[in-house]
Symmetry: none
Subunit: 203 residues, 4 copies
DNA sequence: CATGAATGAGAATTCATTCAT
DNA sequence: AATGAATGAATTCTCATTCAT
């Protein structure tokens, strides 16, 4: 038993994750989670306010990471993206994506494919909206330093590329590719995005 | 009666569509559909076998169209894709996508965002799998005529691009862009895809 | 088509018989019967008052036959049963049973195994009660002519033997034995019954 | 509360038994059972998975007993049946049957007359098939020790006698005879069966 | 005779959550 | 912290029957 220390909360979370992955949020029942956790149904409510809270707590680390990535990569300080030849920066980003996929495979699956019915069922959409704001601020910031840069990019383009990023994640999660292949896929993807955006913004 | 007799089936379908769009398949209840259609709940079952059948009947025309497109654009006869300069073919495809978006906006919304719980909840995935098969057959066919073409493309790439196509649809549906903009977005997308694939296959 | 003459009532009866045999009375739905008869559901009600009426009409000939047999074999006139050596009478009875099984196999199946939920669901019990009355009258009648006969037979015995007769029918119906075997089984059964009863009544 | 806590399961079972006896399995509704048990309908599902499970749990002890009897009375060890004069064995068997009737009257009623629609609706038939197998094995076993015994008995005969045993039970249950009478009826029945079979097998 | 439409009651089952202990 | 019991609203689907035309 890994749960010798009677850390029941974690115990429940693990059980919930299993069940949420088997079914989805909506179809997973508290009874099933309780059974899986060897815990009374009602006892769960001593640790979590609702089924939704369990799901949220489970997925929280992933959400935090995603948001950190969003803000870090579009902070005012970040100008590396403009540097065509910064292979170091490129590989940094690739690593970031790669470790996201590797470390959060299960949670990504939960968030992207099994969240229906929870309060996070529209997370992708909300993240996208946030993205638009953040990215546009970032553009403005950059524009101050490189005034002849074209930042006249449609909201739609930002949306689409955010969505495509998610789609890439989804496909990478669905398929179990070899780590080396995953790295290459991501590298190609990032390269493509960087060059595409640079072209678009005519730096 | 504002509804013509004999149109009750259509009446129900319209009501169902409204409700399915408000909620999703799972959360939409027969009671709600019945109310919306000004019809007794049980009476619906004189026209449709189940909630799932209603959804399916609703979405069927879209599915048919999608599948026609898949097969038509990858039929052995189609070699226009290879022709870099065939603007006519390009605009044909663009029109096809454009009219899909315009004519099936609601149904696409249903199929892509509101199908959870129905038998079509995995339609995208199934279509993708089908795509892989069809596309690979298409490649083999072309290879016979252009033997020095590289058709060594990973399944993952085909998956990803199919998924991206769906993502594009999804984003186009979510946002209500002006028709002119939509046309341009699609044109850019198709152009990008064509050149990308040609490059990949080194024609 | 055997129903060219548009004899719809018979048509419905045939369809109903099929359906009642597939499912049982309770689980058979009017819709299913209507479909099988290629007739509108509501049209059935132009020919029959209710589902129960259909079942009854279907099974009526069998019921009539059973009751005729009961009365004929226990009419005052019948004294052959007392005659130990009347092989002719024995074979008459055997033929009677045999032809019942052969001619009414389907209806017997309906009545014995598929009547649950209909007004005939307790037919066996009712027949048994009737049997007791009839048999006792018969005994009294015989007693007048053979005063030293013992007719002090418990109701239970009459019940049991009636029930066993039904059980024999049921088993003969369930199994598809060869006609020759069926004849032998019945002969043995009747012989056994006759000798048993004669012994009991110490003629 | 007139019902002891922790006895709710039993409480429900008692209520269900009453209702199942009033109506039959199919027509008995959970609502009725719940009302009878002074319990919320949905609460029943905290104790039983389904209506069928309630019925099964109710009838289980009877089924176990019937199967024990079948196996015990046809175990290889049992040779008493061959012994014409073993009055002790006879009375053993009679007691067995008698106590079955007395102890399981209600459950027998449920199983034989009210099981329609439950998963046990064909129990008699299934038991009969099992009987045939068990009895034939038993015959083979005996044949090894008494080689000149005739065990060439048709399946139909075994079926019929099993069915007749059930019919006897059914009639004994339906009628409320005095215990003394019941004992006599059973004794006569067993005696008849034993002598019949011995005759058939020409020991 | 035939039909399409409608109905209304009723079925089993599910489930997140609450509460008293 | 843990438990057993309870709840009540909701859900899909079934079906015999009726009725106007």
């Amino acid at each position: 038993m890994q749960f010798l220390k009677d850390n029941i909360e974690e115990n429940i979370l693990n059980a919930a994750q299993k069940v949420f992955l088997r079914k989805n949020f909506q179809k997973a029942s508290m009874r099933e989670i309780a059974d899986e956790a060897h815990v009374g149904v009602s006892n769960i409510y001593n640790y979590f306010e609702s089924k939704d809270c369990i799901f949220y707590k489970l997925v929280k680390p992933l959400i935090d990471t995603l948001e950190q990535m969003l803000y870090k990569n579009h902070s005012g300080k970040n100008k590396d993206f403009l540097n065509k030849n910064s292979d170091i920066y490129l590989s940094c980003i690739v690593d970031e994506y790669l470790s996201l996929i590797q470390n959060y495979r299960s949670l990504l699956t939960l968030l992207f494919f099994h969240a229906q019915g929870s309060s996070l069922e529209n997370y992708k959409e909300e993240f996208t909206k946030q993205s638009i704001t953040v990215v546009k601020k970032y553009f403005l910031h950059i524009k101050q330093q490189y005034p002849n840069m074209n930042i006249n990019v449609s909201d739609f383009s930002i949306r689409l590329h955010t969505a495509w990023m998610f789609t890439l994640f989804e496909e990478l999660i669905k398929q179990r590719n070899k780590p080396k292949d995953v790295r290459q896929i991501i590298t190609e993807y990032i390269t493509f995005e960087f060059t595409g955006w640079r072209e678009l913004m005519k730096i």
